[in-house]
């Protein structure tokens, strides 16, 4: 027993030490394991947290804590008159990391930029098929159709020639798949016959250098002393992979980690009053909605859709389904995205007026389906419960709703069907912080039969978003999108339900941590108080 006690005490002492040693180490209790370390190969936020958000830079980046675009590895950029040429002036004097196998012999230049994109789109590139790469995001953001060619103008200038003007392109360049890798490192690995190391031992230009990864256990990084924006205030960054949310909270309390993602909603009350925790929160970059099929009667009538929207008690949904971790949505884009139109008024919750409106539209004894997703999503933590609440709301105005559900893959596929009966619960999490990524992807005419689940093609709306897509002037785009949101509200193809609220519990000694609107976890700029 004495031995056991000594062992336990020693264990505790070691832990205490690891939390507050003189070299500053920030421990992040991450929720899962990265799939790999080459961000372009994957789509999961957990993977981006471990790779692109610490190790790599992009040509342009999002200002920490916002969706605003700022220069990254490109110092500046120019867009041609017709909007089809983007010329990036690259930053000079940027060095790549090194590891046991690799010591860079040159600084970052245009070749690295070209390599980073070429491998994703060019089948001839030796890295195109490596690690079974399918380049999901590169394809999902339509890069193969959009990028005609990439030119090296000189060592520090790169030009992207596009097939059409596309204003959101610049936001795409700030996404994780657009991370810049070292061509020199890739070539060396190719020669050594170990190309897959590019995905296992990442070399980037970012604020943290990758040190090591023990699968499902821990990822280690150290600050990049030569980082072009200046070395990070912390010396070491450690990801302690902790899948269970309650355990993450226990670890945070015990001082075994400084920052944790995704708390249990049930723990939020305790965290609010917990002195060892500083609970931060912000609206997530998402929207949860109920999409009517606007091509099937009687949902082709605006009045019917409006009436149903007015029958929905959103506050009850926020309280019950989100347990407070959400806000009612009035627009199809979340408030953290630029051009969010706060002047739009939400439909008032008024079952009586709603019922009168339905009668006026000549609709009585309406029966409908409500589709409930079988999975939890940030924008909808419990679709079944949400559907039940909607069912009750609709019953109040004499609409009989039946809840249906399918397995997730099936659900996604069937809900695209243009003859689909019923209204579908679904949502979206933004990729690049551009309004186009919500409005065109989810409500554009091109997306009917695909991700436009309302099957809604409304010309005045589509004209606005198409115009905004081809205009590179930010102010002009903002106006167009604001207008589009007004049209959306009038036409009501969806009932906009909620935006989730993201909670991030951190230890009080963590300074300058900012919640990333994209749901990422970024540790450059964060420090620890002594």
């Amino acid at each position: 027993m004495t031995l056991l006690r000594t062992t336990l005490a020693a264990g505790a002492a070691v832990l205490a030490l690891s939390a507050g040693a003189s070299a500053q180490t920030l421990i992040y209790c991450s929720e899962g394991s990265p799939e790999g370390f080459d961000p372009a190969l994957y789509t999961a936020g957990t993977t981006f947290d471990a790779s692109s958000r610490q190790v790599y830079n992009k040509l342009v980046e999002f200002e920490r804590g916002t969706t605003e675009i700022v220069p990254g590895l490109a110092e500046s950029w120019e867009v041609s008159e017709d909007g089809t040429q983007y010329t990036f002036k690259l930053r000079e004097g940027v060095t790549f990391h090194s590891n046991d196998q690799f010591e860079p012999s040159r600084e970052f230049n245009a070749d690295d930029v070209i390599f980073s994109f070429d491998r994703q789109g060019n089948e001839e590139n030796p890295y195109n098929g490596y690690s079974g790469g399918t380049w999901e995001y590169f394809n999902a953001m339509s890069m193969p159709d959009l990028i005609e060619s990439i030119e090296k103008v000189d060592e520090y200038t790169v030009r992207f020639n596009l097939t059409r003007p596309e204003a959101p392109f610049i936001a795409n360049m700030a996404m994780d798949f657009a991370s810049i890798l070292s061509k020199e490192y890739a070539d060396q690995l190719q020669e050594a016959g170990t190309p897959e190391m590019l995905n296992q031992a990442p070399i980037g230009t970012g604020p943290f250098e990758f040190v090591g990864y023990q699968k499902d256990a821990v990822i280690r990084y150290q600050a990049n002393e030569d980082y072009w924006k200046g070395a990070a205030p912390i010396d070491n960054l450690v990801f302690a992979i902790t899948p269970d949310a309650s355990v993450r909270y226990q670890k945070l309390q015990a001082g075994e980690c400084h920052v944790m993602p995704y708390p249990n909603p049930a723990d939020l009350d305790a965290m609010e009053s917990d002195e060892s925790v500083n609970l931060m929160s912000q609206e997530g970059l998402n929207v949860g909605y109920l999409a009517y099929n606007t091509q099937v009667a009687p949902f082709d009538k605006v009045e019917v859709r409006k009436a149903l929207n007015m029958a929905i008690d959103k506050q009850a949904i926020i309280d019950v389904v989100f347990q407070g971790a959400g806000t009612a949505a009035k627009n199809p884009i979340p408030p953290t995205i630029w051009s969010y139109n706060d002047a739009v008024e939400d439909d008032e919750y008024d079952p009586e007026a709603a019922q009168a409106m339905l009668e006026e539209a000549g609709v009585s004894d309406l029966s409908m389906e409500i589709w409930a997703m079988p999975v939890q999503r940030p924008y909808n933590p419990n679709a079944r419960r949400m559907a039940e609440l909607l069912q009750e709301d609709f019953a109040q105005i004499g609409v009989n709703a039946e809840i249906v559900s399918y397995e997730w893959g099936e659900y996604l596929e069937r809900s695209k069907d243009m003859d689909r009966q019923g209204a579908v619960l679904l949502g979206w999490t933004g990729d690049n912080g551009d309004p186009d990524n919500f409005l065109a992807v989810l409500l554009g005419c091109d997306a009917v039969g695909g991700s436009n689940r309302a099957q809604w093609c409304h010309e005045p709306f589509d004209e606005l978003i198409q115009q905004a897509k081809t205009t590179s002037d930010q102010e002009e785009r903002t106006q167009l999108y604001e207008e589009a949101q007004v049209v959306f509200k009038e036409q009501a193809p969806w009932a906009t339900i909620a935006h989730s609220v993201v909670f991030e519990p951190i230890r009080p000694e963590v300074q300058d941590y900012k919640i990333d609107p994209f749901g990422g976890h970024i540790f450059y700029g964060v420090s620890l108080a002594e």
Partner: protein, 335 residues
């Protein structure tokens, strides 16, 4: 004895093929398309879908996919994980030592405590100790793992600060893990305190994982002992005036061991299943969590490969148990 072992080995072969078929079919019978799941809310165009299908080999007829899988197995290739794009066998082997280490500790704890507890309970049948022990065993057996683990963490880690909350070793230590067994690697690392840290991290997960097998073994030992203690030869031994320890320990226990060994063998399957929850709670980097994640993502190759290896391990353990019966009880050998 050799014939007995061989005859057991022969029955292994059809079971093995059965397992390959079941593991192959299981994940494919679940509804859900991996490509759709990967794309999520982002739609995949039909052309892109066909392209991905071809790249991943899902466009082949099912029998073709099965034979590819089977040929792969005989070449030691379990395919490539659809999610991580790494060989399934590498993924499995990187994680398996952690599960094995935890399972061995748990089974050792369960046997070391369970058998003596069962014997003592049987010998003191109906007395306070017996009743207390059996009630505890029933509670242990019925305990929801998740709740039990969190309770231990809250009391011993957060409350008393005796044990770390989760993980395999303190984050302070960073050394190579050639064997994958943290107890061995930490002892070999030469880092002062590393071994202690590894031990302290093992305590709570071992207790949690051992709880159910411990309860089962204790109860099984007790009932087997009770049966044997009523036999004539035990009465004879007692009548001859042999010491009670000798009667109970040697004559009775040895004959009571057969059902107990069966239960221990079967516990291996239970342990690997129990490991899923225990590993998740204690952030233990083993195969349990990995299998669950793979199933949710419909990572066909990883699930079928993982299931196959686990099934083979359970089969091997049971084969060993079968052979052990023969060693303990010559009558079984001759049958």
């Amino acid at each position: 004895m050799l014939r007995f072992v061989l005859s057991r080995l022969v029955t292994f072969i059809p079971t093995f093929f059965g397992v390959t078929l079941v593991s192959f079919a299981f994940i494919r019978l679940l509804p859900g398309d991996p490509i759709q799941l990967l794309a999520g809310e982002r739609s995949v165009s039909p052309e892109r879908y066909a392209e991905l299908e071809a790249q991943l080999g899902f466009d082949q007829p099912l029998w073709q996919q099965y034979f590819d899988y089977l040929f792969g197995i005989f070449q030691g290739d379990l395919g490539t994980s659809f999610v991580t794009r790494r060989p399934v066998l590498d993924e499995f082997m990187a994680l398996f030592p952690a599960t094995l280490e935890l399972s061995i500790c748990a089974i050792v704890l369960a046997v070391l405590l369970g058998i003596p507890a069962g014997v003592i309970a049987a010998v003191n049948r109906g007395k306070f100790f017996d009743q207390a022990l059996m009630t505890t065993a029933l509670v242990g057996y019925s305990m929801p793992i998740f709740w039990w683990a969190l309770l231990l963490i809250i009391v011993f880690s957060s409350g008393l600060g005796w044990t770390p909350v989760s993980g395999r070793i303190s984050l302070m230590y960073f050394f190579d893990t050639p064997t994958g067994f943290m107890l061995i690697d930490s002892a070999m690392s030469g880092e002062p305190g590393a071994f202690r840290s590894a031990v302290s991290h093992l305590i709570l997960p071992t207790i949690v994982l051992a709880t159910i097998p411990l309860a089962i073994i204790a109860r099984q030992t007790r009932s087997a002992m009770l049966e044997v203690l009523g036999e004539d030869y035990v009465r004879t031994a007692r009548a001859k005036g042999l010491a009670p320890l000798r009667v109970n320990g040697l004559h009775a226990l040895r004959n009571a061991m057969i059902p107990v060994i069966t239960v221990i063998g079967l516990s291996v399957g239970t342990l690997l299943a129990g490991a899923i929850l225990t590993e998740t709670i204690f952030s233990w980097p083993g195969i349990g969590k990995w299998m669950v994640d793979s199933i949710f993502r419909r990572d066909y190759q990883a699930v079928q490969g993982g299931l196959l290896i686990i099934a083979v391990i359970v089969m091997l353990v049971n084969l060993t148990v079968d052979i052990l019966y023969g060693a303990i009880n010559p009558k079984i050998r001759k049958r």
